[in-house]
Symmetry: C2
Amino acid sequence: MIAVLAGGTGAAKFVRGLLEVVPPETLTLIGNTGDDVELWGLHISPDLDTLMYQLAGLLNEERGWGIQGDTFTCLTAIGRYGEPTWFQLGDRDLATHLVRTKWLRQGSSLTEVTAMLCARLGVRARLLPMTDDPVRTHIRTPSGALAFQEFFVRERWMPEVVAIEYRGSERARPAPGVLEAIGAAHGILIAPSNPITSIGPILSIPGVREALAERRDRVLAISPIIGTEAVSGPAGKLMRACGYDVSPLGVARYYAGVAGRILIDEQDADWREAIERVDVRAFTAPLRMTDRAAAIRLARMAVACLHSET
Amino acid sequence: MIAVLAGGTGAAKFVRGLLEVVPPETLTLIGNTGDDVELWGLHISPDLDTLMYQLAGLLNEERGWGIQGDTFTCLTAIGRYGEPTWFQLGDRDLATHLVRTKWLRQGSSLTEVTAMLCARLGVRARLLPMTDDPVRTHIRTPSGALAFQEFFVRERWMPEVVAIEYRGSERARPAPGVLEAIGAAHGILIAPSNPITSIGPILSIPGVREALAERRDRVLAISPIIGTEAVSGPAGKLMRACGYDVSPLGVARYYAGVAGRILIDEQDADWREAIERVDVRAFTAPLRMTDRAAAIRLARMAVACLHSET
């Protein structure tokens, strides 16, 4: 069994490869819920949805979120009422939020709801939220704090970042199955997601960091940074704001307490020595998932690195 | 100013005609909310929606509910999750429910929300819910009580009807503006809606019956019954269950306390004498709104009857 700590789009690309390399039944994804947002009374879990749609073969892979061929009729009509439409709600996607919200109100936990949604979509891998408790990543900017979706989608990650907060994390417990999956996995992968806003919230849940630290030599992080830039999105900007170098070494440092291994891009081979000095074993491979074949190759390499004894 | 007590589909047809006969600014519709239902956490007001869409020129007039050209992508996806899909939720229609529910949760009353939705859709007539309090029409059947939408849509009004309940009505207050509109109107029309489940809930709100009784000679009911059958829907079945004849006389009797005038179909002219014996003045006109021109003729006739002194 392999456990994967996962955010949204970047993780989904990687998972697409992984599904061709290991049987889905042997995969447990632990998804970030720090990005969750309540809009129009609906509980929206963007990262869980992206992962679930990928696992179900429904993901719009071009955009990296939402459902293939979805329409936006309802959203357009919402706009007609003068309501903000910056959060892209597809009509099919909306069904997920409506059903999730209904089931949560009926008393099921997010873990249970996620499992039921996945079952109805024929998903064979296991998808767990990091926690059933509310944890909300906020981005502190000079003009106030923004919830993650506001910063990322509405403000297109333009505002200056002063600090990151994982609100609610100190009182949150890992969702049922999370610590067990980390403890029982042959290996644990940290997907090439944004360390600060996708993986950071997972690590902020009391008990998760400790469980990973115990398995540290079985934990492999895949770097979302190549050279001195993020492969996509605001990972670089956020790492800098948190005091980390935007480099494979910065990623290795960020994860050093929980991941004994890191997979960095082959062009960054020169960083290996510095990384090994912070007690992290570095492996190299082409990290850019330019197409499905590249994602499969990367997944195969990641699984191999997990098991490598050298 | 004309006030109209209105249900959904039948009332909407009639209102379409009325909009061609009087300026929309002089119309106040008082809509039934006994059919309201909460589904997927959304507050749905089927009758208010039907009336609002009609006033906004958006109604799917062929079906008599929903929005012209709407799609059902979200509903189909909800079905994929195994959730019941008997309540037809269009994608554009859904926006109304999402926005209404959001604004209600933010603390606005149903009256305020209805006014805001109408304003955004450019509606110039005034649409009031009968009450801001929860009143829910239930149909008692031999195997238990059904909420109105369950009886009407899900069970296609097949179950035997034992009794009708307007749950919550005894504690409900008329919405702001309702009694004022009834008091100030030149005339009050009772649309050709189902007396029991569309107009009955409005009459059940404490104060409404009394306000209408005071203006009784200025209140004209348009019969939804022609001969011994309802023009459409379960009006006949429900009147019978409540002990009323399914005839123009039955309608006149049902409304006798609040409406001093009734408009019946020209084929039912023979009922006039019997109706006048229960102290209701009867007028005749072709009631079937087979097309828009017929609806306009009926509306013109109804307005004329309101003002007639003979």
